[in-house]
Symmetry: D2
Subunit: 146 residues, 4 copies
């Protein structure tokens, strides 16, 4: 973890570059809209191609952006030259994800040398109203970037 | 649950039709390649657009096809006229998902009136070799189809 | 759920009586120290008989009081004449549970007709200092009390 | 992991000694009844002091013996001089745990250098019949024994 708990511009740039290289995020139309030390926000529209059988967002969309938000929150606190892999993640789907946009916020709960424990919340925006559609808790493993 | 534990052709047809209506599955290139009473198999190539920062399949791909496989396994055992929603799902990522194809097999562990407990395994195929890349356990809620 | 989101004295009395009938809580030395609509607190000393191989509280102690706290938080919001059963629960153990006392706080995240989604946090108190040792998320099923 | 995948008598003895030092297991009346490379079995009676409000075994009993069984399964595959701590564990409760005895079987799913992924099943025995009452999946962290 950075000594001072502050995200440097270099770290932020590396996180953005890594996110840009996740083609799954491009496929889902996702954008990274917030980066801080220990917290990252990713947004995605509910595209016509991201739905389940009832026309709501597929659980996989909430999971994907929540997982990436939580993962990059973890990256923001691990030593330079490391990124992370998801070891496990649990998602609770609280309400149907319908509307225009999903916003996932990932946060670090506990940063250890070997594991980073994370959580994420996903909200749906519809006609200016916000609803809490999912929350996630998981385990990220820091690994030396190749 | 069907009295005789056998999937009727009508149920299989409804499950296939519902799967076809999940646009997320089309986006990910997924196909349903097996349906039985309490067990469903879904396969997806690791498309160029389904990857994370290291070029492996994004956790969201394994999750998405595993969630759908587990969900349709649940649909195969709930009363006619019902489908299911995912309430919660945990995924363990056991190894990097690399290769040509991911195969998710969802199974019903316990079918109750109000909840169906499910699991799924995801394997990756690469050059004819198979590796176990993820397993999932979760809770599906039967709901009357509209 | 109570119309007004307020716990009645009758509900509180029923929750306390049910808690008193959980002999596991007595075995672990646990006491219910707070009840509100949607939130319940349970405390337990780290008894000599509640430990793992290193002398810290066994994960089963944190789980047991966290599960009961989350469960009674759910009971506080379900209709009269119902209690709940745990369907599933995930616990993250954040730090060794050492000290004099564990305090578990359970909260309702989403109360539905068929499921109540809950979480719990467990803190350890040692020499006047508090540390966050566990957090849990889970699913409770309301059932008509016999 | 032992090169030959065989549990040595020394390892088995260390595992038994560590289990004996978990006072929580003594409190719950638990005994270790099987040890192999990557698999451990722990049994416990449903004592009068281990129950929830309906007289069934408290979820904390199933969790405690399942967690210890999974943990010692992990210990059986980590390098000599290490034990493990539970990082996270999810339990699904499939049926009320009633009867005379609970039997938890823990197994290693994937043993890595930094993490060991485990699962456990808990069965209840009542009048000679067996029912599957819980299954668990979790993450153990190997640590150098002090």
């Amino acid at each position: 973890m950075a000594d001072d708990g502050v995200l440097t511009p270099e770290q932020a740039a590396r996180i953005r570059a890594s996110f840009e290289s996740q083609t799954m995020m491009t496929t889902l139309g996702a954008r990274m809209t917030g980066i801080a030390h220990g917290e990252v926000r990713i947004e995605a529209p509910i595209l016509p191609g991201s739905r389940q059988q009832r026309g709501f967002a597929h659980a996989g969309l909430s999971f994907s952006i929540g997982d990436s938000a939580a993962g990059y929150a973890a990256v923001s606190v691990v030593p330079e030259g490391h990124d992370v892999l998801t070891s496990e993640m649990k998602i609770h789907l609280l309400a149907p994800a319908k509307g225009d946009l999903l916003v996932a916020t990932g946060r670090v709960i506990r940063a250890g040398r070997r594991l980073v424990i994370v959580q994420a919340d996903v909200h749906a925006l519809e006609d200016g109203r916000t609803s809490h559609v999912a929350f996630m808790t998981g385990t990220m493993i820091p690994i030396a970037a190749s």
